[in-house]
Amino acid sequence: MYEGLIFAGFGGQGVILSGKLLCIAAMNEGKHVSHIPSYGAEMRGGTANCSVIVSDDEIGSPLVPHPTAAVVLNNPSLIKFEPRLQPGGLLVYNTSLIDVKPQRTDITIVGIDANDLAQAEGSSRAANMIALGLLVKKKPDLCSLDALIKALDKAVSARNKELNDINIACLKKGYQAG
């Protein structure tokens, strides 16, 4: 298997963390993984994204020009990445914040009310976890839900660890919604 993924949103939505969490989980289940964020001037202006690859084979370029799946959490990210998806790819988008309608008909499109679902679990900051839970349900080859939950301790910085209960609840909720 080979999955080239994009996680995108604005700064603070935890898109970089989502990618790292997935990498650690997949790594622990024996996959080859890579993660590379947008950086430098590209990340100024409030948008952030990262490219993640999960593969059975060694990874060449860490870049993902044409993702097999994209998780987008705000409007500019949808506009930027929807056109880049491979035909047959998966688009997970955050309907809480995105009011643009996806256009493509050759991809699978799943909208989820990530912010509101996360808020119901205690913090809208965990919207990324809702989306990630949904993603691994739709793409079970990436990793198991259990691996994601176990990887939280490694991926989340010390100052944010108090949110991990909410993160776990949101991962599960997103997974169930998938």
Partner: protein, 352 residues
């Protein structure tokens, strides 16, 4: 510490330097290697080391020079434009026979260029860059694990040969996170007491210098000594890797990030029944001329894949001469070569 962890290239390198015993780090911020100074700023105080953000690249390489002269394991890091500024200091390190580790996470050039990964500093790194007849050892890691492992090796090589060692990565390698097992220290000890500056107590005074104007301190003599050392390094320290190259008819030659793409390309070509293989120099200086010659003995075509206009290809030509068909595929300005294009380049050649 044999646990697999996910780490960003820049941070894995910084931690490996600390594992290697580096306790002095001087640098100036530049993208795409900013995680190295940030990591060192956080980490050095924990190990009673020095992190100093210098006023310039020029100052930082000279702080490295001073710390090395004082006998310490020391490192600086930068990216292409900053490495250009450090060249003066690198030449002085070479002239004064001082060990140091210098990291270049290459970005697109010339000029301010961009911040994407690039391999356009191959000539600068391997052919000099600064003034004078000198070489530095140049190590080109291909993944985050190797980045960490070669960092450990870089410090040992620097101390063993009293030579600056450059780790030549690129923005992609520095920015990407991959699983790795953090390396262990080698524990090798190097006695610097015969030359390091520690105060002239019970011995003649030591002088670290490269100015040689008089017959008793002849410059030619220094140069001969350096060249003998370079010959010994070329003899003993070559590193390279091959992948499915044993029976290859088509040999891709690439280092660092571009070698990763070539590996994918080889697998695709092999599935199609095309016998492709990869030769990956890990030491770019000394370049594995003989080893490449041997690997390319029976191949029909050699394809140099680089993230530049074709720089390493000159060393490939030196290794293989004019009889071999040596092709170039390079992407410039921080653009990554496409695996499909590498495949197509070989495929179209194979069927003609």
């Amino acid at each position: 510490m044999s646990e697999k962890v996910l780490m960003k290239g820049n941070e894995a390198l910084a931690e490996a330097a600390i594992i290697a015993g580096c306790r002095h780090y001087f640098a100036y911020p530049i993208t795409p290697q900013n995680e190295i100074p940030a990591y060192m700023a956080l980490r050095m105080p924990m190990v009673e080391g020095t992190f100093l953000q210098a006023e310039s690249e020029i100052a930082s390489i000279n702080m490295v020079y001073g710390a090395s002269a004082a006998g310490a394991r020391v490192m600086t890091s930068s990216s292409s434009p900053g490495i250009s500024l450090k060249q003066e200091g690198i030449s002085y390190l070479a002239g004064a026979e001082l060990p140091a580790v210098i990291v270049n996470m290459m970005r697109g050039g010339p000029g301010l260029g961009n911040i994407a990964g690039s391999q356009a500093d191959y000539f600068q790194a391997t052919k000099g860059g600064g003034h004078g007849d000198y070489h530095i050892i140049v190590l080109a890691p291909g993944n985050v694990q190797e980045l960490a492992d070669l960092t450990i090796r870089a410090f040992d090589l620097a101390d063993e040969y009293r030579i600056p060692v450059m780790i030549l990565g690129d923005g992609f390698l520095g920015q990407m996170s991959e699983p790795l097992v953090l390396p262990k220290p080698t524990g090798k000890k190097f006695d610097k007491s015969s030359w390091a500056l520690s105060g002239a107590k019970g011995r003649d005074h030591h002088i670290v210098y490269s100015l040689r104007l008089t017959p008793e301190h002849a410059l030619e003599e220094l140069n001969i000594r350096l060249q003998e050392r370079y010959a010994a390094i070329s003899e003993k320290e070559i590193l390279f890797d091959t992948y499915r190259a044993d029976d290859a008819e088509f040999l891709l030659v690439a280092f660092g990030t571009s070698s990763r793409l070539c590996r994918n390309a080889v697998n695709i070509l092999r599935k199609e029944g095309i016998k492709a293989g990869l030769f990956r120099p890990i030491t770019l200086w000394p370049f594995p001329y003989d080893e490449l010659e041997k690997a390319a003995e029976k191949v029909r075509m050699v394809l140099s894949v680089e993230m530049n206009a074709g720089q390493m290809i000159e060393d490939i030509r030196l290794a293989l001469g004019k009889d071999k068909d040596i092709q170039s595929y390079g992407k410039m300005g921080g653009v990554v070569p496409e695996v499909d294009e590498i495949v197509e380049k070989v495929r179209s050649y194979g069927t003609r």
